[in-house]
């Protein structure tokens, strides 16, 4: 039961930390525009060369056409295959791609394990269900699981080696940078060892996911920690889930904000609109910058200061 309790706790931390990160972002004040082109939700013709609606005469009189399709067409290869790195830093991509794709496949495998557990729960547990869906799930879990583990091991070892051996990475790396990769590698290598030596069909993983959903009900006589490698894999995966949102590795999901709330945020401020209302709130904030020319005293608002001249020296 200790394994399950650890996993529950880590999932709880994951949810809490992720929710906090997202909450913090959505409650920040609206900022000035700082977009960078190409902005991928532009029309296909403009997105191709990085153009914007500002290329149109009297653009404020027109409806700004946006394309979700263009955005998805860009984002999917970016997320799945890390296209930007492929284009700009190919040598790093060769190891970063297997690393990230390995992690994605682990997430996909986790999803499949949950579906698998739900299928069992929907049948006559404890009798093992059969049928096409179950067979399909069994096959998919093996394929995604094994592929993810192999890629993840290659990627994390590669990243570790590159960070250690290349001065331009090593000189900027701290203990935590190595620790993060080692931590992920520990999961990949222990899970792969468990699969190779004791559980090639990932029966233990399926049983553990079932146990997680049912508060520890056994499946096929499995108990967590039967093999050392399997136990390490469970513990490291659980701890990783809790750890990732506490670190810069949260870029896995925070990338949404980096792109949609900054890099591609080209929303216009229209009179009487939501953005204008938010700006007016900001203009009432009272800065305390101390340089003479700012002339802030904690009582004057941004509006007061912006409409005044710089203080004489």
């Amino acid at each position: 039961m200790g394994f399950y309790l650890l996993s529950y706790l880590c999932i709880f931390v994951f949810i809490l930390a992720t929710a906090y990160r997202i909450y913090r972002q959505i409650t920040l004040p609206i900022h000035v525009r700082w977009e960078l082109y190409p902005v991928q939700h532009e029309t296909a013709a403009r997105a191709a060369y990085g153009g914007s609606y500002l290329e149109e005469v009297n653009w404020w009189e027109k409806t700004h056409k946006r394309s979700l399709f263009n955005e998805l067409r860009y984002m999917l290869p970016e997320i799945l295959f890390i296209r930007g790195l492929w284009k700009e830093n190919r040598s790093l991509w060769r190891i970063s791609f297997p690393f990230h794709f390995g992690l994605y496949l682990m997430i996909a495998t986790s999803g499949l394990l949950v579906v698998h557990a739900l299928v069992i729960l929907g049948s006559d547990y404890p009798a093992a269900p059969g049928g096409t869906i179950k067979s399909l799930l069994d096959g998919l879990i093996v394929v995604t699981g094994w592929t993810g583990l192999v890629l993840g091991n290659i990627g994390s070892l590669g990243l570790l080696s590159k960070r250690w051996t290349e001065p331009e990475l090593r000189n900027y790396s701290s203990f935590s940078d190595y620790f993060n990769i080692l931590f992920i590698f520990l999961f990949f290598v222990s899970a792969l060892a468990a699969a190779v030596f004791t559980d090639p069909l990932l029966v233990g993983a399926k049983a553990y996911a079932f146990g997680l959903l049912t508060g520890g009900l056994p499946l096929n006589g499995y108990a967590p920690g039967q093999s050392i490698a399997g136990g390490v894999a469970i513990v490291s995966a659980s701890l990783l889930a809790a750890y990732i949102p506490l670190t810069h590795m949260s870029h896995m999901f925070m990338k949404y904000f980096l792109y949609h709330k900054v890099k591609w945020d080209d929303a216009q401020n229209r009179r009487g609109g939501r953005i204008e209302a938010a700006i007016m709130e900001n203009l009432e904030l009272k800065p305390t910058w101390r340089a003479n020319h700012v002339d802030a005293d904690g009582r004057k608002s941004w509006r007061d200061i912006a409409s005044s001249a710089p203080k004489e020296k």
Binding site: L28, I30, L36, L54, E55, L92, F179, V262, P287
Partner: protein
């Protein structure tokens, strides 16, 4: 070189030896052994000079230990304010996101022309100064930071660290090429911008060209050039006379026309350094029959907003003045002349500052000009521009605003010898004059700019004209005053007019040069007219 080295004592943290800069091709090999001339020890003996071979700000050394400690505390107080919404609502979210998610993969370094051209000196990596700020922030402002710094990256904070960091924030042109290539979306250029703000808004430290002679003079006198309204009107009167002399076309430049469709705002530097640009705009607008005006009110005849580069407060003051002048003139829209940073400042950044009737429509001159050229109101003879032309993309106009094609569509129509640089558009390289560098020339900073900052652009220009005969005049079209200034300086520094017959100018000059109504050419290559009547 590690980020922690920034706080370690040394006379010069980074020195560029002869031969270390990226090589230039023939006939410029003689510059390959040239390096930045040493600072005059007498002139800088009271200044902090220990970062590299140049200085941009010229920060006085503290008189004693107490002063040093007070400055360190003031720096920390400013750093804290960068993360408070009351003080930094303008950039809080972008800053937090970029501070927290860098994976230190160095992809940004390969995109940075300063880093590449310097011979890949570590301190010029986009993430070097960002990483310094991250470490200071985590160690000195986060709870338990002094303990966790051993695990997440340590750095000592002392006066040397701070003085070098201030200088280092002026070794980046804020072109944001690094941010476009970051796979995560981190913007280390933005962090440089925020470092500059911290020093200016909290400590009153900024290059005099940007602050005292820049925004302060702009707001007090009327223009960062020092021209008051009377001088501006005198200059424009002179331009009117000159234009008739140059092209044989009489032009009247309107002032303060209430209710005009367009308020055109130039970078006032054009009136002094490139008056023909102001004249060419007037010629085109008049010939096209537009309703337009200039403003003679202080600040209203100078589109620049240097605050964009270093100080949100000064930025806001200038932007509000621009908008208020347009509001009182009751114009339908503001058109920004050929000035890249002014484009971005008033059109994009100020969009989340101006409210109510200050939020007037703003448009790029590239767009207005394209509309005129395509309208058929003007007749062109493209053969008058029958010489090699390449286009420089101002970062602020292109990468930061997405105004990419209008200027190209114009050039394709009026300049048969137009060819692109490689790369171009949103992937362009900065001219080296970005973020104020074009107007900063104290001590030996201009040499650093010409040798390091603008070197990539110089190589790009040479490549664009590869295969053209040396004796053929070549035109670099740079529709931005600061970019023009930087390109002018590299042409002069490398003797490129003599060696490659390189000339430069704006877009409007090319348009007027091709107008059939002109009796004489607008563009001359030295003494040689670009076409004969």
């Amino acid at each position: 070189m590690k980020p922690s080295n920034l706080s370690k004592p040394s006379d010069c943290l980074c020195h560029i030896e002869p031969g270390e800069l990226s090589p230039l091709p023939a006939p410029y090999e003689d510059f390959n052994q040239v390096t930045i001339p040493p600072l005059n020890p007498e002139k800088v003996k009271h200044l902090e000079t220990s970062l590299d071979d140049t200085i941009a700000i010229g920060i006085p050394k503290p008189a004693n230990k107490e002063e040093e400690e007070a400055l360190v505390l003031r720096f920390l107080s400013g750093l804290k304010k960068l993360f408070e919404k009351e003080n930094n609502w303008t950039f809080l979210q972008p800053l937090m996101l970029s501070m927290e998610h860098c994976a230190k993969c160095q992809t940004c370094s390969n995109a940075c022309p300063v880093y590449e051209m310097s011979g890949r000196k570590d301190i010029y990596r986009p993430m070097f100064r960002a990483e310094v700020l991250r470490r200071i922030y985590k160690k000195y402002l986060k709870p338990g930071g002094k303990i966790t710094a051993k695990l997440t990256g340590d750095i000592d904070l002392n006066w040397t660290t701070i003085a070098r960091l201030a200088e280092l924030s002026y070794r980046c042109t804020l072109c944001r090429r690094c941010a476009t290539v970051c796979p995560i979306g981190v913007d280390n250029g933005l962090i440089t911008h925020e470092i500059r703000k911290l020093f200016s808004q909290e400590m009153g430290i900024a290059p005099k060209e940007l602050h005292d002679k820049g925004t302060v003079q702009h707001l007090r006198v009327g223009s960062s050039t020092g021209m008051n309204p009377l001088a501006a009107k005198d200059s424009v009167e002179f331009i009117q006379e000159e234009m008739e002399e140059i092209t044989g076309y009489k032009v009247e430049i309107p002032w303060d026309v209430e209710g005009a469709d367009i308020l055109l705002i130039h970078n006032a530097g054009e009136m002094l350094a490139w008056p023909e640009n102001v004249g060419a705009f007037a010629t085109i607008f008049q010939a096209a029959g537009l309703s337009w005006t200039l403003s003679s009110e202080a600040v209203g005849y100078d589109a620049v907003n240097y605050g964009l580069w270093y100080d949100d407060v000064q930025f806001s003051r200038v932007a509000v003045r621009h908008a208020d002048i347009a509001r009182r003139l009751k114009v339908k829209k503001i058109v920004m002349g050929e000035c890249g940073h002014a484009h971005k400042a008033l059109t994009v950044i100020a969009d989340r500052l101006l409210t109510g009737d200050l939020n007037l429509p703003r448009e790029s001159a590239m767009v207005t000009l394209e509309e005129i050229v395509r309208s058929g109101k003007l007749q062109f003879d493209p053969l008058r521009n029958d010489f090699p032309v390449t286009l420089h993309d101002p970062c602020n106009m292109v990468r930061s605003m997405g105004i990419v094609e209008p200027q190209r569509r114009i050039l394709r129509k009026i300049a048969p010898g137009f060819r692109e640089m490689t790369p171009h558009g949103v992937e362009n390289y900065c001219c080296g004059g970005g973020s104020g560098f074009a107007i900063m020339s104290g001590y030996n900073f201009a040499q650093w700019r010409n040798l390091v900052g603008s070197r990539k652009k110089f190589l790009q220009i040479l490549n664009a004209f590869e295969g053209e005969p040396r004796e053929a005049p070549k035109y670099v079209c740079a529709p931005c005053s600061n970019c023009k200034g930087a390109i002018r300086d590299i042409i002069n520094y490398y003797h490129a007019e003599e060696r490659s017959r390189l000339y430069y100018g704006g877009l409007v000059e090319l348009i007027v040069n091709a107008m059939v109504d002109m009796k004489k050419p607008m563009i001359r290559f030295g003494d040689e007219p670009s076409w004969r009547s």
